[in-house]
């Protein structure tokens, strides 16, 4: 389809109906020639250039971004340049660092005597009583191996029947993940990992987390949520949540019996894993929209619990971002779109599983393509000033129209202003705290 025909098709089918933005001379560069990216850049009339040319907007891989910001490269960005990663995004996206940062954040709040760090006793569904943070208990108990091995063993002994999940810190898409329900299995693994046949494994660190063995099931199947979160600044924190997330379903009925412990199609919802299962359906790809999840929960569980769940997810996202905001290199040329993976348990409590700094832009289905096209379109309209030309001096306060399908999660700058104007001289509870 040529450009003109596409335009007609777009208006005809009424689905993706964004108005064509006026042409302006923006030079973009990209490491990923994904169609959802390219079609968005083309529709804006942008001009593609190479990485060594004068670019204004770079959709880069995390590696390129790190290189650009490294001292050796000596590259200095000008005011009309933007890039889609923060240089040390791994503070959020590496499994071990995320855990470390959240633990530190909670400790800091506790030390300040902040009510947010209040602790409470909770009864696990296995029956034992444990002490947890009342408001900040949103990641499963996690340790980094081999460093925290002794701490892990101590925790393990408290409830020896529970299952744990091992994930290599630096890998994604479900590679290298396995479940453990006996300490001996872990010991065996660590012995094998140190043999000369696996020299690469011995260097790698793992996180081990309590496995959520009571996930919410729909139609008997397990799923996780993929939500998209856009951050345009960490200090002050400015973050937006994309309304069009989706649930990723396992193709096989959920089953915690021992025989199925090694069947990863039961446990892992990653599309890259599920795709290889015999029952993968390429029409829907095992994906259901978050709006339909909400509809289902409201219809079958009621409104109050559904609202509470969605509020808890926003809460979780905001605090995971606050946990890293002090360590992030808050470069004003940067923005980043994170893929949040969340699992909901059968008590309708959400758990943060991990954060991805380069969520997949590959489209597995038609709806997927529409969603990702909108995502990119909305990201561009939020991060760019209204004239559509990258400029780091703009105030990063997008209009309601520019938000598209994004909802404002938190904007500390706006909150501060609100406090100053609405309640002069009075201390006010922060809306999202």
């Amino acid at each position: 389809m040529n450009h003109e025909a596409k335009k007609i098709a777009n208006t005809m089918y009424g689905r993706v109906n964004a108005p064509t933005v006026e042409r302006c001379r923006v030079n973009f560069c990209t490491d990923l020639e994904k169609s959802v990216l390219m079609s968005n850049f083309e529709r804006r009339g942008w001009n593609q250039v190479g990485p060594d040319e004068e670019w204004n907007f770079y959709w880069a891989s995390t590696q390129t971004c790190r290189n650009l910001f490294s001292v050796e490269s000596g590259y200095r960005m000008n005011d009309n340049q933007m890039i889609n990663h923060f240089p040390n995004h791994y503070e959020l996206s590496r499994k071990d660092l995320l855990v470390k940062n959240i633990k530190r954040y909670r400790k800091e709040l506790e030390r300040e005597g902040n009510p947010l760090a209040e602790k409470t006793e909770v009864i696990l569904h296995g029956g034992q009583v444990v002490t947890r943070y009342a408001h900040l208990d949103f990641i499963p108990v996690t340790f980094v191996l081999p460093a925290d091995y002794n701490m892990f063993v101590e925790e393990y002994r408290k409830s020896p029947q529970s299952t744990w999940i091992m994930k290599p810190c630096g890998k994604s898409q479900g590679t290298g993940i396995f479940l453990i329900n006996k300490l001996s299995k872990l010991k065996k693994w660590s012995r094998e990992a140190k043999t000369p046949f696996h020299p690469q494994l011995s260097k790698e660190s793992y996180v081990i987390s309590r496995y959520i063995d009571n996930p919410l099931l729909i139609g008997g199947k397990k799923f996780d949520l993929r939500l998209y979160v856009l951050v345009t600044s960490f200090r002050p924190l400015k973050a937006y949540l994309f309304q069009l997330g989706f649930c990723r379903f396992c193709t096989v009925k959920y089953d915690t019996s021992m025989t199925e412990l090694d069947n990863m199609y039961v446990h892992l919802t990653n599309v890259s894993v599920q795709k290889h299962g015999g029952d993968y359906n390429s029409i829907h790809g095992g994906k259901m929209t978050v709006q339909n999840l909400r509809l289902y929960l409201e219809g079958t569980r009621g409104r109050a619990v559904t609202e509470k769940l969605f509020a808890a997810m926003q809460w979780l996202i905001v605090h995971s971002l606050k946990a890293v905001s002090s360590v992030m290199a808050n470069d004003r040329h940067c923005f980043e779109c994170y893929g949040y993976d969340i699992i909901i348990d059968n008590q309708l409590k959400p758990w943060l599983v991990e954060v991805n700094a380069s969520p997949s832009l590959t489209s597995t289905t038609v709806n997927d393509r529409i969603l990702k096209y909108k995502l990119i379109d909305n990201i561009l309209s939020v991060v760019l000033p209204s004239d559509g030309v990258p400029d780091v001096r703009w105030n990063k306060l997008p209009t309601a129209d520019a938000l598209g399908n994004f909802d404002l999660l938190i904007d500390e700058e706006l909150l501060e202003k609100d406090e100053a104007t609405n309640n002069p001289g009075r201390s006010n509870k922060n809306k999202t705290r």
Binding site: Y13, R15, G220, L295, E298, G299
Partner: protein, 517 residues
């Protein structure tokens, strides 16, 4: 005059009392009343007054009223035979064709319509009952018996007697049929709340409420809906549904308005249906599996509920109560011998016991209920009640004002009267306008609209207790996209313009069509 009226009321009451004695709830209801009479609340001196009062307090009053309401609704006003002989003839022929096709599929596949399931297969099926998607069946050779487009072809040949035909009228119009349908103005009188522009759910939930004490329309509707649900009086709930139900109350309200609440009796009946699925292998089971696979399993809105749907649809086929309810509206099902069973009265079964032969997409009548009910039994009874009250009319030929023929005619008339330019455009490009909307009508838009929109549409079906909203919505969508339709001239391209309804907001579109210009 007064006395005649009173006499008539008395006669009606007597008739009702007789009828209620035949209903399944009678025994337990009578027991409850007897218990009440024996209680100290009811006084001998003032028997009538105190009993009525006590019945109100115990909720028996509402129960009795609801029973009468549901009974009255099952009494069809059209018990007479179809007045149009040509239609009944066509209907019989169509039924014969379906039966023939079933039989020939059976002989092609060298199987029989009904046979006993071997024990091993029964065990396997029973074990996998909750995950029938893993039940291995080779369905490659099974084809749906018919699809909406086949049914449409049949409808298009209904010529009737044609006294009013003019030469310049195309042959395909339903207008040849001497049936009465409403005009848009008459519809405005039916959907009076909508045409008056009253605030409806599904337009903008955050719209400010006009009732003091509520911030938004949604909050107001939820609060009112909760009170209505507690009251539990079916006619009031029906009235409430006219302006749309919040999703969180819908499951309950639909059940109440249709009288499909679950008691132990219903659960055990459902288990009986399950048992008969396990025992007898009907050829139709394969068609049901195939249909769920072709529709729900491939649909991103419903694939999650696949396993629930197998159970519900299989049980539906075994439910002979459906056939009893619909006697006279669904033709004469086949009687077949169950192979492998000793010859006796029990070895012959109606095929299928429900009398309903599914077409391609039949499962879609049930899928939206998955967003309301987790439990297969609850889902089953509300779906079944919906089917008996409404859906069967969409795939059987009849002259009923809510039947598919009348709905097609209504659509045609509405289009001609209200969108004359579109009508002419369709004439010019020689496309029958019903072709582009027929599958919407036949499936009540299920699988075409996103579930949230669909549920709002079905609220209106329950609220106004009629299906005329379906052709009206078809018209409204065409009207909304007419500029694009004007630009194309093939059926394929018109279909392409209408293929994606994911951006349609049903309620505002309908209200706009109903509000006076």
């Amino acid at each position: 005059m007064e006395s005649i009226k009173e006499e008539a009321i008395h006669q009606t009451a007597l008739k009702l009392a007789e009828e209620i004695k035949n209903l399944s709830i009678y025994k337990s209801f009578y027991n409850d009343v007897q218990k009440l009479v024996a209680s100290p609340n009811v006084k001998k001196e003032d028997f009538k007054q105190t009993l009525q009062q006590a019945m109100k307090e115990k909720g028996l009053d509402t129960k009795l009223r609801n029973t009468v309401f549901h009974w009255v609704r099952t009494q069809s006003k059209q018990n007479k035979l179809d007045p149009l002989t040509s239609l009944s003839k066509a209907s019989a022929q169509w039924e014969k064709r379906i039966h023939k096709s079933l039989n020939s599929m059976c002989s092609d596949l060298e199987t029989s319509l009904a046979k006993l399931r071997p024990q091993s297969e029964q065990d396997d099926l029973s074990e996998k009952w909750h995950e029938l998607s893993t039940y291995n069946l080779d369905l490659t050779k099974y084809r749906p018996v018919y699809a909406p487009k086949d049914f449409l072809e049949v409808l298009l040949t209904l010529s009737g007697y044609v006294p009013f035909t003019r030469e310049d009228e195309p042959k395909w119009e339903f207008a040849h049929l001497p049936l009465q349908v409403k005009t848009l103005d008459q519809l405005r009188n039916v959907y009076v709340e909508w045409s008056n522009g009253e605030a409806l759910l599904g337009v903008n939930a955050y719209m400010p409420s006009t009732v003091p004490g509520f911030s938004t329309l949604e909050a107001e509707r939820i609060s009112l809906g909760e009170r209505v649900a507690v009251l539990g009086y079916a006619p009031v709930i029906q009235e409430y549904l006219k302006k749309g139900s919040p999703q969180c109350l819908r499951a309950r309200l639909w059940m109440q308005v249709l009288g499909s609440e679950i008691k132990s009796q219903q659960t055990s009946y459902f288990n009986q249906l399950k048992k008969s699925v396990l025992e007898v292998d009907l050829m139709i089971d394969k068609l049901i599996f195939k249909d769920v696979q072709l529709t729900a399993s491939n649909d991103d809105q419903y694939f999650v509920f696949e396993d629930l749907l197998y159970q519900v649809m299989l049980c539906f086929s075994r439910d002979c109560e459906i056939m009893q309810h619909l006697k006279g509206s669904i033709g004469n099902p086949l009687n077949v011998t169950i192979k492998g069973k000793q010859t006796s009265a029990e070895s012959v079964t109606v095929f299928p016991p429900s009398g309903i032969i599914p077409f391609h997409g039949f499962t879609m009548y049930a899928t939206p209920f998955c967003y309301l009910y987790d439990d297969p039994v609850q889902l089953y009874y509300t779906f079944r009640a919906f089917y008996i009250r409404y859906w069967h009319r969409l795939h059987y030929i009849s002259t009923h004002p809510q039947g598919i023929v009348s709905l097609c005619l209504l659509y045609e008339r509405l289009l001609e009267a209200n969108e004359p330019l579109l009508w002419i455009h369709f004439r010019n490009i020689n496309i029958n306008p019903v072709r582009v909307v027929f599958k919407w009508l036949m499936r009540a838009f299920s699988g075409h609209l996103p579930p949230d929109q669909l549920l709002l549409l079905w609220d209106a079906i329950l609220g106004y207790d009629c299906l005329e909203i379906l052709p009206l919505l078809a018209l409204a969508i065409l009207s909304f996209r007419k500029e694009n339709i004007f630009q194309v001239n093939t059926l394929q391209n018109v279909d392409a313009i209408l293929a994606d309804l994911s951006t349609i907001s049903v309620i505002p579109l309908l209200q706009l069509a109903l509000m006076k210009p």
